[in-house]
């Protein structure tokens, strides 16, 4: 009974020949190819190129490469290194060399108002000089006549109204 059941002792397996290692390597490659696996080098990826281009443009803008007047840029960059005090001192010392009208036009109105607020010297108001309130009675006749002469006002043009005097 045991012998009858122990059939494996009377059987031998004929192992089929199995392909070598290269076959399985090629098989793996074929499968991956069929599944469209591609290893794309990073430098070939469109996303990489677009990102690099965008970053380059941004950097160029920051550096002012697209500035049409590079000389102007250089001057502005140099001016940035000079302090405000130094600039003011230079202008005061060389005010005659500057076109004051041009300077005035450059200063924005709002900046003038802001600067005026900062001025610590009180504006000259006649009441502060004279303790007396302003009145024509307090002005000498000769001063009035001198004023008219300076303004080119002909007294004779004023007619008979001599209330001004």
């Amino acid at each position: 009974m045991d012998k009858q059941n122990n059939i494996f002792d009377y059987l031998k397996v004929n192992k089929p020949q199995v392909p070598n290692k290269d076959y399985f390597e090629q098989l793996a490659n074929n499968v991956m190819k069929s599944q469209k696996i591609k290893v794309i080098p990073i430098y070939k990826k469109p996303v990489t190129w677009l990102s690099m281009a965008a970053a380059s443009v941004a950097i160029m803008f920051l550096l002012g490469v697209f500035n049409s007047n590079p000389q102007e840029t250089n001057v502005l960059l140099a001016l940035n290194e000079v302090s405000v005090n130094e600039i003011e001192t230079y202008i005061y010392d060389n005010i005659n060399d500057f076109d004051t009208d041009a300077i005035i036009n450059l200063i924005e109105e709002e900046n003038i108002e802001a600067e005026e607020e900062k001025v610590s010297i009180e504006p000259i108001i006649e009441t502060t000089i004279s303790e007396k309130p302003i009145s024509l009675d307090n002005i000498e006749k000769e001063d009035i006549l001198e004023y008219f002469e300076l303004e080119g006002i002909n007294l004779e043009d004023l007619g008979d109204d001599e209330s001004f005097i």
Partner: protein, 187 residues
């Protein structure tokens, strides 16, 4: 169930995609390709059909590996896919190769009363039928031990089962197969 660390590494690498997936898949084919090839060729009996089926098997593996839930050992999953693909392929083609190039898988050594009166082709067919009648895990253990002659330690690593359990499993498988074949031959 915990998966074998090597197999776990392959799966994790595969799931990272790109070059790593490519490397992982190549490792998987190198590790288990031969075993699956033998499993298929055992049924198809020739290299051309085996090649076709094996390619289909690995395409299926590639497409589904990221969905593998690690509820069984990786090789058990591969074995299942291979078996299904082989049977489906033969069923679909409704043919063998025309001329079976491979000889019978088994040779009969003279001296057994019952076996002496049979042919290698018949015994091979009966053995296949007996293996089919086993539970899947037991069938797998038997094939790895009997046909591939792996050590218990190697089967343990592949199936993530203890060597003791494997020895018991194989012993019972042999008993069942012997009984099956003898009963068939005696009828």
């Amino acid at each position: 169930m915990t998966i074998h660390p090597e197999d776990n590494e392959i799966i994790d690498l595969f799931n990272q995609g790109g070059i790593k997936a490519e490397k992982a898949f190549s490792s998987l084919v190198a590790k288990y390709g031969e075993s699956l090839y033998r499993q298929i060729r055992h049924i198809t009996k020739n290299h051309e059909l085996t090649n076709d089926v094996l390619q289909n098997v690995f395409i299926k593996v590639f497409q589904n590996l990221s969905n593998f839930k690690k509820e069984s050992a990786l090789y058990t999953w591969l074995y299942r896919i291979t078996r299904n693909e082989t049977l489906n392929y033969l069923d679909k083609e409704k043919r063998r190769s025309g001329i079976d190039i491979d000889g019978p898988l088994l040779e009969i050594i003279a001296g057994h009363d019952v076996l002496d009166n049979t042919t290698p082709e018949l015994i091979t067919q009966l053995l296949d039928d007996a293996i089919d009648s086993l539970p899947e895990k037991q069938s797998l253990v038997f094939q790895l031990k009997y046909f591939e002659e792996l050590k218990y330690s190697e089967i343990s690593a592949r199936l993530n089962t203890s060597e003791g359990a494997l020895k018991a499993n194989y012993h019972h498988a042999r008993q069942k197969i012997e009984t099956f074949i003898i009963n068939k031959l005696n009828h």
